[in-house]
């Protein structure tokens, strides 16, 4: 990493790291849930032509 890039970065506090991890996990789970929902729903709609 260049010295210029290093200057653009700020160290995160423990609280900020914990909060960012919490947000990242929630976004990850949310996106994974969306993938699963659309996958299953697509199969159901193909099979049943319903709703």
């Amino acid at each position: 990493m260049s010295a210029v890039m290093e200057q653009d970065r700020v160290p995160l506090t423990e609280a900020q790291k914990k909060a960012r991890r919490s947000r990242s996990l929630a976004i990850g789970f949310g996106l994974a849930a969306l993938v699963v929902i659309f996958y299953i729903a697509t199969i159901i709609k193909f099979v049943h032509h319903t709703m």
Binding site: Q16, R23, I44, T50, M51
Partner: protein
């Protein structure tokens, strides 16, 4: 480490908002009511969707309601900060920045409407989009700060979920779902005016023109009583029009009579009674009433379906 935009400020503002703070932006308690009433609307429909798609549709409606809650909290952060009931919400408490809440609300709105449109139908999705717009723009940005009738007109937003649930299942809107809409629509003013009676100081400090601090407590109490006289018969309509059984009719009459009774107690409450026990009791009972009416209607539909009865 985090890469940040170059700034002239010494202090770099980085978010400490957790996933829980974002969840709080969705107003989970309001969302639970939306989920329940949308579920009743969907189950009451004559066409039953696939259970998985039904759950997804309810989740999308809940997410849309949550999104409108986040947009409401973004816009109302200034008045939330001066009201005791709302001062600890994520934005006034400084845990979530306004811009973050706005982005969150907009993204979730789009996601919920698109999901409902693709997986249910576009009528339900359009109704959900209209509900979000109505709550965030018509109620929050316009009516809430400009007229004491804010909650009367704005109440429509909270009343739409049963219609959306019904539309998600059938692709249409029916009289039955409109009656469920009417019940919530007429329930909203007395429910919030009861709250406003014992929290009028809060609303006055925030400059929100709620009925008690504009028209006065006596006028508010009279209007609460008038609305109770309207909601009691409207609650009985599903039976009167043949959409529910006599069992539901009896339950709705008892619940409606209870509403009128509690509203009467508020009407005759002495002006010098600052404990506002009657208003607090009506506020609590109104929650019980709405849950009771919808639970009774749901039970009636399920029992009727199980035994092949309808409107007996």
């Amino acid at each position: 480490m985090a890469l940040v935009e170059p700034t002239h400020n010494e202090e770099v503002q980085l978010s400490e908002a957790t996933a829980g703070d974002y969840l709080e932006l969705l107003k989970p308690r309001v969302m639970s009511l939306v989920v329940f009433t949308a579920f009743v609307g969907m189950v009451a429909a004559p066409i039953l969707p696939h259970p998985f798609l039904a759950v997804v549709a309810i989740l999308a409606i809940a997410a849309g309601a949550g999104a409108s809650g986040a947009l409401n909290m973004w816009y109302d952060a200034d008045i939330d900060a001066v009201m005791s009931r709302t001062a600890s919400r994520p934005i006034p408490a400084g845990r979530v920045k306004p811009g973050e809440a706005l982005s969150f609300g907009l993204v979730l709105s789009a996601l919920s409407v698109m999901t409902l449109g693709v997986l249910a139908n576009w009528l339900a999705a359009s109704l959900l989009a209209f509900t979000i717009f109505f709550y965030a723009v018509v109620y929050t940005m316009w009516l809430k700060r400009s007229t004491p009738q804010n909650i009367v007109i704005g109440g429509a937003a909270g009343a739409f979920p049963p219609i959306i649930g019904w539309a998600a299942a059938t692709g249409a809107v029916s009289i039955e779902s409109v009656i469920l809409f009417l019940i919530i629509f007429l329930w909203t003013p007395p429910h919030f005016w009861a709250l406003a009676l014992f929290k009028s100081g809060d609303y006055e400090r925030a400059g929100v023109p709620m009925m008690p601090n504009v028209a006065g407590e006596a006028s508010t109490r009279r209007q609460i009583f008038v609305y109770s006289l309207l909601i009691a018969p409207v609650g009985v309509l599903p039976w009167a029009l043949g959409y529910a059984s006599l069992g539901y009719g009896l339950v709705s009459v008892v619940l409606g009579a209870g509403f009128v009774w509690y509203a009467w107690k508020v009407l005759v409450m002495p002006a010098e009674d600052r404990t506002m026990k009657a208003a607090k009791a009506l506020f609590g009972y109104s929650l019980l009433y709405l849950f009771g009416i919808f639970a009774a209607f749901l039970a009636d539909v399920l029992i009727g379906r199980a035994f092949g009865l309808a409107g007996i």
